[in-house]
Amino acid sequence: MAAEKAEIDALKKECDGLRTKIEAARKAVNDGSMSAAAGGVASVGRVQLKNRKTLKGHLAKIYSLHWAADSRQMVSASQDGKLLIWDCFTGNKLVAVPLKSAWVMSVAFAPSGNLVASGGLDNMCTVYNIKAASPKTLRELDAHTGYLSCCRFLSDSEILTASGDTTCCLWDLETGKQKTVFTNHIGDCMSLALSPDQNTFISGACDSLAKLWDLREGTCKQTFSGHTSDINAIAFFPNGHAIVTGSDDCSCKMYDLRSDQEVIGYQDSSLNAGVTSLALSNSGRLIFAGYDDFNCHIWDTLKGEKVGVLSGHDNRVSCTGVPEDGMGVCTGSWDSFLKLWN
């Protein structure tokens, strides 16, 4: 036992030593800052968005939402055991998908618009065909040993999932089997996002790390640290060169992929609530971050300043999303309502 412990201690020491060297290497290339780069950029001023619509229909906490590629339909999941697909323009509910397990934590729309997926405490990701006369279960992806925290379609044939069992997984929807399992996190994976070119994806986890993975090789390419608590939300900057994370430590951070480090942080001493979700506007200039303080705060991505707030929910904002055409932002909350703003 003692020999084993000694071995582990030695390995841990070597590991820590390497991590220190990595930090030094990062520091060595850190010869510029975002504030310097964005110094000449005009401030966006105060961003005041109005609540254009409130979508009512869920009967319990909303945990997740996802826009369809047509920027008009959206799917939302609530712990009342239903997925609702909305036409956000008219406010009508188009389809209601009853769930086998009400403890849903994530939902996704396929780019084709034919399929939606959801999952949660049942440890499974269930894929539904919503173009059928009534929603039909297409696949039940069952191999995770922990809750499903996030899922995203690559196409009608492939889907990525993030799980509380600390792994992310790429599934083949035709066979219903796992194709690649991405293992490296040591805490529950809470969120994932696909790169614009679909060659890589990023994940945020309870080990306070964000990781970049190569979809084809199945390996972790980069690891970003800096947060001091669970990372709940993660997204790519639209040009694919940086990632933005939101954490329970009440801050968001932007990490640049090529210089392999944090380039700017988004925090405010008056903001004392964890970040639950985030989304970027089309130009990447604005970050919409949902917090536990019932608000969604708006940040100027380049200048790191808080430029606005979306208030109106009666409970924490659990999910945020900007559609592909960037018309506005949708927030979903534990108060069971979805609000559209622009």
Partner: protein
């Protein structure tokens, strides 16, 4: 969405900030000079002092914060839902009614933030007291919980009963009015902290996460050996200087370039459908249109990916390539994309087709790939898989990007399209607000429970007092 209250201090931080804001409002409501005017309320034959009506609360909020009626109802409603003000009539309906219904301030002793989390022991004592007072006539859900608690903390049950009796005895010594007040306060506190099923639990913190992650992944020697390998690889990776990454074309330039394509920042023409209820913008930018908009055509010049991501752009580019007799490149790229994102079952067949059409010697649409990549690809084809064409596809992609794409942007084909492209006129917002179509949420297709109608201030109120059992979100 962490809940571990004490371990990371997480919860105390999150919910507290909202409570502190509410408490500030409550304190100013009780200010002797500028606060609310209280009066005595009659409840049956007893007079309850220091009460106010729902209407009073709303009026005070309107006046103090200079807000409208609807917002005051909303804020006041939150104060009630979180237990800072409780109703005297119908105590189980935690709703602010804008009428003569009587309300009272909750005493700071029973503020949620003061006594969080509500302890099981206290709840047991409360139920025990109620049980004794009402001689067993507890509500169904209270009876259930009482027996559950009895089993769970049976070892301290004597203490529970003793405390209950003590508190009852002490309260009998009080004046009737005071006793009733205390009972109301205590009841309100427990309605918030132990809501009956069907009533939304405002304090629900959601999923519990494990405290430490060592319970998920064993940090043994294998783990560290693996980590060391990862770190060594990471150490060796190429890092670009921040100054290069951040300046120039990257973030600032990107945001500036896409500013006109960001409706939240710059608005959009002819109008934003969410605001104007006019779908013209979507119609003009549909996948297939006779004439595209100018912004759309301009966007194709931002990057090669932008051109390829737009089906119309891709078609235009294909037309151009056909003129240049290099259309096979785009066809090849498209076919490779099809393999990458398509069904697994058809991979083998698709790879064969690509070989036949594009790679085989003398193929009808032979693509020009360097010999090294060609050899590698041909070897790979013997065992086809989703990514077998990646290298070849990448080669052709860069070929088009470096060569054909820039020339396309300079071509007459592109320039003419740009010149002909539509610049929509900004449509005027409707002058008469009442002409805007009212949109009502349609009932759920799999309709089970009746819903309150939206678009009136009562919606939130009625929805809250939850009559549905599907909510079931309490501890």
């Amino acid at each position: 969405m962490t809940i571990n209250t004490l371990a990371k201090g997480g919860w105390n931080r999150e919910q507290m900030s909202c409570f502190r804001k509410m408490e500030k409002v409550i304190v100013s409501m009780q200010d002797p000079d500028m606060g609310m005017k209280m009066r005595n309320q009659r409840l049956l034959i007893t007079v309850i002092p220091h009460a106010m009506t729902g209407r009073d609360i709303i009026d005070w909020l309107i006046q103090k914060y200079n807000i409208c009626d609807e917002e005051a109802l909303h804020v006041g409603g939150m104060l009630v839902r979180y237990g800072y003000i409780y109703p005297l009539k119908e105590p189980r309906s935690l709703v602010l009614r804008p009428d003569e219904s009587p309300y009272r301030f909750q005493t700071p002793y029973f503020w949620t933030s003061t006594r969080w989390p509500a302890s099981e022991l206290d709840y047991a004592i409360y139920l025990a007291k109620k049980n004794i007072r009402k001689q067993g006539e507890l509500m169904e859900y209270e009876k259930e919980r009482y027996s559950v608690l009895n089993k769970r903390i049976n070892h301290t049950w004597d203490f529970v009963v003793m405390q209950a009796r003590e508190q009852l005895r002490a309260s009998k010594q009080r004046r009737k009015a005071d006793r009733i007040v205390l009972e109301c306060q205590e009841q309100a506190y427990w309605l918030i902290n132990r809501p009956p099923s069907g009533m939304r639990n405002m304090l629900d913190m959601g999923l519990e996460r494990p405290n430490t992650f060592s319970s998920r992944v064993t940090l043994n020697s294998d783990y560290y050996k693996n980590e060391i390998e990862n770190c060594k690889r990471a150490l060796g990776r190429n890092r670009v200087k921040s100054s290069i990454c951040l300046e120039g074309y990257v973030f600032v330039k990107y945001s500036e370039q896409y500013l006109n394509h960001d409706p939240i920042m710059q608005g959009c023409l002819p109008s934003n459908p969410w605001i104007s209820d006019d779908t013209a913008h979507w119609t003009m930018n549909a996948e297939v249109v006779p004439t595209p908009t100018r912004l759309r055509v301009e966007r194709w010049s931002f990057s090669f990916m932008e051109l390829l991501n737009d089906s119309m752009g891709k078609r235009e580019f294909m037309t151009y390539l056909e003129k240049e007799f290099s259309a096979e490149n785009l066809c090849f790229w498209q076919a490779c994309e099809d393999i990458r994102h398509g069904e697994s079952s058809r991979i083998i067949q698709k790879v064969e087709e690509i070989y036949k059409n594009f790679l085989a010697p003398g193929a009808a649409r032979w693509v020009n790939i360097d010999s090294k990549t060609m050899d590698k690809t041909l070897t790979g084809i013997r065992h086809p898989h989703r990514f077998v064409m990646d290298d070849a596809q990448m080669h052709i992609y860069f070929l088009m990007k470096k060569d054909s794409y820039p020339r396309y942007l300079k071509s007459d084909l592109y320039k003419n399209l740009l010149a002909k492209a539509i610049v929509p006129q900004e449509s005027k917002k409707s002058v008469f607000p009442f002409m805007r179509r009212q949109r009502h949420a349609s009932p759920s297709p799999a309709q089970v429970v009746t819903q309150a109608t939206e678009e009136d201030g009562h919606a939130k109120g009625a929805g809250e007092a939850g009559t549905n059992s599907a909510a079931g979100s309490h501890a």
